[in-house]
Amino acid sequence: MRISRIIKRRIHSLLHRGSADAELQREIEIHIQQLTQEAIAAGVTEPEARAIALREFGPIEQTKEKCRDTREVSWIQDLTQDIRYGLRMLRQSAGFTAVAVVTLALGIGANTAIFSIVDAVLLRSLPYHDSDQLVLVFAAPLQRPEAMLGISYRDFKECRAQNRVFSQMAGNVFHDLTLTGAGEPSIVNTGVVTPEIFPLLNATPLAGRTLLPEDGRQGAAPAAVVSEKLWRSRFGSDINLLGRSITLDMHSFTVVGILPASFRYPDGAARQDVWIPVAQDPLFGPLMGRPGTRMLAGIGRLKPGVSVTQAQAEMKTFGARLAKEFGAEDAGFTMRIEPYRQAVVGKVKAALLILLGAVGLVLLIACVNIANLLLSKGTSRGREIAVRMALGAGRARIVRQLMTESALLGLLGGVAGVLLANCAVWSLAPFLPPEVAQISSIHIGGSVLGFALLLSLAATLAFGLAPALVATPSKLQANIKEGGERTGQRGGERARNFLATAEISLAMMLLVAGGLVIRSFALVTAADPGFDAKNLTRAEVSLPQFQYSTPQQWTAFANELLGRLHAQPGLRDSALGAPLPMDRQGQAAFEFSIVGNAPLPESKSNSADYSTVSPDYFHVMRIPLLRGRLFSEQDSPSNPRVAIISETLARRYFPNEDPIGRQMKFGFPPNSNVSREIVGVVGDVRDVALRKKPGPMMYVPFAQEPLYGGEVVVRSSLSTAGVAAAISQAVHSIDKALPVTDVESFPDALGRSVSQERFRTLLLGSFSGIALVLAAVGIFGVISYSASQRRREIGIRIALGAQRRDVLRMILAQGAKLALLGLAVGAIFSFTATRLMASLLYSVSATDPLTFGAVAMVLLGVAVTACYIPARRAVRVDPMVTLRYQ
């Protein structure tokens, strides 16, 4: 009953606001008339009585406003009114609105774009249940615990059987096999696994089954699971494929199941076609019994309640036990684990968080800028606000209305920002390093939109509240008396100066960060890789093992290929190497020992990167020979084994002696104990990535250490496409079925090795650019406003004979003072903040004085220039005009 009465009444007052107001007016009028009559009865004249009544009643409008406030629907009315009013204000000052919206759109857009990447990379949920329980299990040499090495099948079995921390554990390794018998022969990426991996990752087959523990036993019937993609593309989605056999590297496998396209391991892997048990793998199956072959990557699922620390401790104990029990292979190694998520995102996490921080600073600067604009605007609206307060509007009411205006700005900026972010993500796509994320997984989805909305509202609060409070002073009279124009000037000016200073210091932080990464990127790209990448093209040729199974066949193929390439006019400079620098699959590294030196203690070993190369390799790559000789055709299998070492290896392991003639023992397993005579020393090469300083390297002649494939490198003035076509032609003239893959120009390969650096340099660089512009706009705004406020003072000064130059200097000094203060504060903050990004920098210190100095100079220059324009305008005016005007 009561509720319905209340609702009826509220709806009534919402719909009939006008009549409700009229009733209120009448009610109050009656009261005042009664007061008047009382006064008349006391013997005063009528006009006087009316005045007394009004005085006694008090402020009518304020009473009315209080009565209106009791209608609890008033906030809806207020809101619609505020929005209508706010839109009108924004339309009226279209210039201001445009500047504010563009500024906000930049800030929110940049944040949303970066957040969408963070969302896709760091926050996405992994496609496995309870993915926080997943850890990678691997071996690491005691003296290089950061290295992730595989574990042998024996150690894997021991670990699976003996550990008390994993509910499940599986091994896996990936390589290419050749699929024949279903159309053209093709390379399929094969997951070689122990069958536990499917229940461990809760893989549900699309049809058939996954591999069972029986399939993993040695001697079991070979079974394979194919991916949905392969099933559709190669087998025409024929469900009868189940139970049929396919041929991988000339081995027959029965297809037992099809895995849905959604299943991938590792998550984000580009291509996975076939899954087979390790025991049946044509390549690694035979190596299973060799305890020294570290071929498996391990993955485990922690038992519920077991922490990563506990598991790590157990693995350490377990590793020590292995080292003791199987000293021959496992001495000097330990076992380690790493949470799966950390392994996947660990490398980019720091960089992304720093980017997020940087982009947050951009938004902060944008907010400060708008706050400054609003502050100036609020001040010039002082009279309007004072009048409204005098007419009975409460302070809270006005603040609410100003905040509504800000929120409108914030939302407009947010919408524009999301649009901008959409464009930004698309235009960033080509720069996105492949290891950061698949571009397809980045999208402006619900969480990103939520983030943008939250940002807009937070920004609204950040830039709207202070100006609204400053614009609504508690002392009314002063406002009206001052005519409004200079209202709140003192408080306002202090606030504006503070904001401008803050803006400069924030910009300084961003510019320093940007400057540091730009410098470090310049240094990285200018780094000498140790070879001449210009006009160099590479291509990978790999020989299927079932056809080319002996080293003699590999050498014969390589000789034939190089012979045919050399015969072509544009390709005379070609060579073979495996692996080449910047190889996508990474570099090979082997332990070595020096013949004649005292044996190393058991826990220590020396290792160096390894490459097997054809005699022309150094000539084609233009790697300089420093001492001794290069390889020649005479270094054949029938002659003594030889090796060439890099300058670093020579310097580090043969200090003060000539390495030529000494012997080293190393090699591709099982030839790890072959002695090789050092015949030459060549220059260092950056083989992993441009940013990685060159380490020790050893080369052997391809003829003495052939591989089932390699990478061709050609120096030619022909285009990359032309070289690629020529290589393919030469390869196919020997064997039609051989695929040529990974064709790439060497400059591109070098570029790829710095793609992460390029990406963050691009981003941080543009953020600092935006920050610089915003800071310039900010200080320009403050100085022009203050100059226009001081017009009268300037006029008087000039009228009294001050030189325009002095006045100009005075205004510039005011700007420079703000800028210098901002720079000082900014330098202190940068000094602390840039340490966080030390890991991203290449041969530049995080507190590089050159960068700090240059940034300070640039900012000061920009700030003073920004002040110069309003300063000039201020001193140009005719003093008579200004004096008369005010």
């Binding site: 009561r2 009610e27 009656i30 009261h31 009643f57 009565c67 609890e72």
Partner: protein, 109 residues
């Protein structure tokens, strides 16, 4: 003279409810009546009387009709709703409890 805002919070509501409980009254009448019945000790400022009336009306304790009045013209006359009567009982009880507590305290302190 004590300002109306010095009235204990909520006391004004009680006074209004009690005043119109006997017979419906307009704003002017309520103000006068409170003044008269309290022996001129309590003066209700119009600045708080009308907002209070509107608030009580919005809460459904009282309702109002425009009707002919003793002022010789139509006035907005407030009367208690049944719920308002119950609310008055509650407020009276609270008030009695509070005032006797205060009374006790003052006597014994």
């Amino acid at each position: 003279m004590p300002k109306p805002s010095d009235l204990l919070q909520g006391t004004l509501d009680l006074l209004i409810l009690k005043t119109i409980a006997r017979k419906p009254l307009h704003g002017w009448g309520i103000a006068k009546r409170i003044q008269a019945l309290s022996g001129e000790a309590l003066a209700v400022g119009q600045g708080s009387l009308y907002p209070a009336l509107h608030r009580l009306e919005n809460q459904g304790w009282i309702c109002a009709e425009w009707e002919e009045s003793d002022l010789g013209r139509a006035a907005k006359v407030y009367s208690l709703t049944p719920e308002g009567r119950k609310q008055l009982e509650r407020e009276l009880k609270t008030w009695k409890r509070l005032s006797s507590a205060v009374h006790l305290l003052i006597q014994n302190a």
